[in-house]
Assembly symmetry: C2
Homo-oligomer: 354 residues x 2
């Protein structure tokens, strides 16, 4: 088989609620719709990467129904029948089962289909190395019954990511997975970085759709017992019945049939405001100013001015955000505690006001 | 003469440009129109104090023409002929000369008139002790040819105020003035506090209007040579010709005929954002939250949310202001450097945007 024999299908998961960039991200405008990596929204950049892997006709976007208007406006090229609107948010395992079913139904040669699942809210660079890594994963998945995941070599002792412990080589550039590790503590993350043999779990997956459905059938009872509804076309019945479940917990940590491809590209999940300072160019004082933002005598300060002007003076290591009718100020080293903060606020504030 | 023999006239100086509370204060809405001391604007509280000293008919407000709409809306009771609109801003010496001339023209018994000049952007408490102090000053001024100023006993080594060195007693509660001192450095301010004998210069004055004009004639050539225009009713000619001059520099520091009354009340000129934290009640964590402001795990932080919501998290000793379409964040100990900051900003930002 040559690589041209595979029919590539790309699934973009656009369902996150993205409270981690509050108040710029809200339930009505999750993180993937923000211009975090550049001047363009993350989901628009993700679509561009996807189109470098497969023709537009082979792209599916899975999202909650309330995001339909935003997706239609930001991904104007996407034909409406390629937008899969979840009747209910039930996590990535049901969403990917549905997408696999759709690919098998839509593919010209279903037996040659390879499915690539991508998150829409990550920053990935450069494009060429993304493509070469994913091509390698497509080849490996296309000729095997394995579930391929993409791992990223750590560059810092990150405690905000899950890790993959790498096992023996399978084919050039792919490896067995010894185990998945939940977000580690600082000391553990430092030992992973020092020892090597651990990769960040990027959440990108490559597999043949019928393999995914078979693996779900074998290991994921919570989804498997409702798969018949999917094949009967009863999508709302499937989502009503199925449990909320992530693909990581529901399948990847249970199946023995997992392999990992090591990424050649730089990857960041931009998990919090402070992470923006890693992925965007800063000025010579270390400040990152987005929008109508002005800093005088500041250093290492992030200003996100989406909605009116923001002026900061004499600050160091502070995050200042103005968006959705709300101004938010937090020290840089506490910006990751946003979830805890939001639970302390009146509920109406969490959704933004503007 | 009994005290009832004096005809009290109160002059409110409402001309300040008040950039020190930017972005809440702008040239279109100077500091005296902000609710800094309580939920009501400073100028409204000043008018109330003035009405406790004299009937409304004996109040004059001096302000720039551009402030007319704001004054008419905030001081709705004030008859329009009692609002003296300066054709040009030339400082307090020309403004008070005009007011004195007007009082002499309007008074039922000009020879019995006593004029009280008050700033409209200070915080003064409590009302009863303000009245008793000013009554004492009115009595002293009414029976003498002196220019009475009101001095406030220092409670901290303040470097933002001018000081008055107190001389020998004249009458009970009034003293000669040995000298006026410009804003001192920290060590000098501390020595004044330790030694005693120095009062803060509050900028409140009490005198007979004809004495003011005579003193200006004797000591203030810059004003004196144009006084004829005033008496001829050529107000715009007077303001066009006269130099810009403060009454402090132009007369009080030159005349030998000055006395000071020591204030019994608490006084603050609220000269900068951080000063607000002295004059307003703070919560048990030392935070001052004004408007739609929410602080979680913060201390000694000021949030002024005039225009949308402001949420602060994990801050200490920070000032956050949202007003006039601008968000402004500064450490508390640098909030007094606002003038320097504003010169570093694009000019259009200084005037606010909303």
């Amino acid at each position: 088989m040559s690589e041209n024999d595979f029919e590539r299908w790309i699934v973009l998961l656009a369902g996150g609620i993205g409270s981690r960039f509050w108040p710029a991200s809200t339930p009505q405008r999750p993180k993937q719709f923000l211009p975090l990596g550049s001047e363009r929204p993350l989901i628009v950049e993700t679509l561009e990467r996807a189109r470098a892997l497969a023709p537009l006709s082979n792209l599916l976007v899975v999202a909650g129904e309330h995001l339909q208007p935003l997706i239609r406006s930001q991904l104007a090229d996407l034909p409406s029948e390629q937008l899969l609107l979840e009747p209910q948010a039930k996590g990535t395992a049901p969403a990917l089962a549905w997408a696999a079913q759709e690919i098998l139904a839509r593919a010209a040669r279903p037996e040659r289909a390879v499915m690539v699942s991508l998150h829409t809210d990550h920053v990935i660079r450069p494009l060429e190395r993304f493509i070469s890594t994913l091509e390698r994963a497509v080849q490996a998945a296309g000729v095997s019954d394995r579930l391929l995941t993409v791992g990223v070599r750590p560059t810092r002792p990150e405690t905000g990511y899950g890790y993959i412990e790498v096992g023996d080589p399978l084919t050039p550039g792919t490896f067995r997975v010894r185990r998945f590790v939940e977000k580690p503590d600082r000391a553990t993350a430092e030992s992973y970085l020092a020892r090597g043999g651990f990769l960040w779990n990027s959440g990108m997956f490559v597999w043949r759709p019928q393999i995914l459905l078979a693996e779900l059938g074998a290991h994921t009872r919570e989804v498997a017992e409702h798969l018949a509804r999917l094949s009967e076309g009863d999508i709302s019945g499937f989502f009503a019945a199925v449990s909320t479940l992530t693909i990581d917990y529901g399948l990847m940590e249970r199946s023995p049939n997992i392999a990992v491809v090591e990424a050649e590209f730089d990857w960041d999940d931009v998990g919090a405001w402070a992470a923006l300072m890693r992925v965007r160019a800063r000025d010579h004082e270390g400040n990152l100013l987005v929008g109508d933002a002005h800093a005088v005598d500041c250093r290492d300060t992030l200003v996100w001015a989406e909605d009116g002007t923001v002026v900061v003076f004499g600050l160091a290591d502070v995050v200042v955000v103005r968006a959705s009718g709300v101004t938010f100020v937090v020290p840089r080293d506490r910006a990751e505690e946003l979830k805890e903060l939001l639970t302390a606020l009146p509920p109406e504030l969490r959704e933004g006001i503007g």
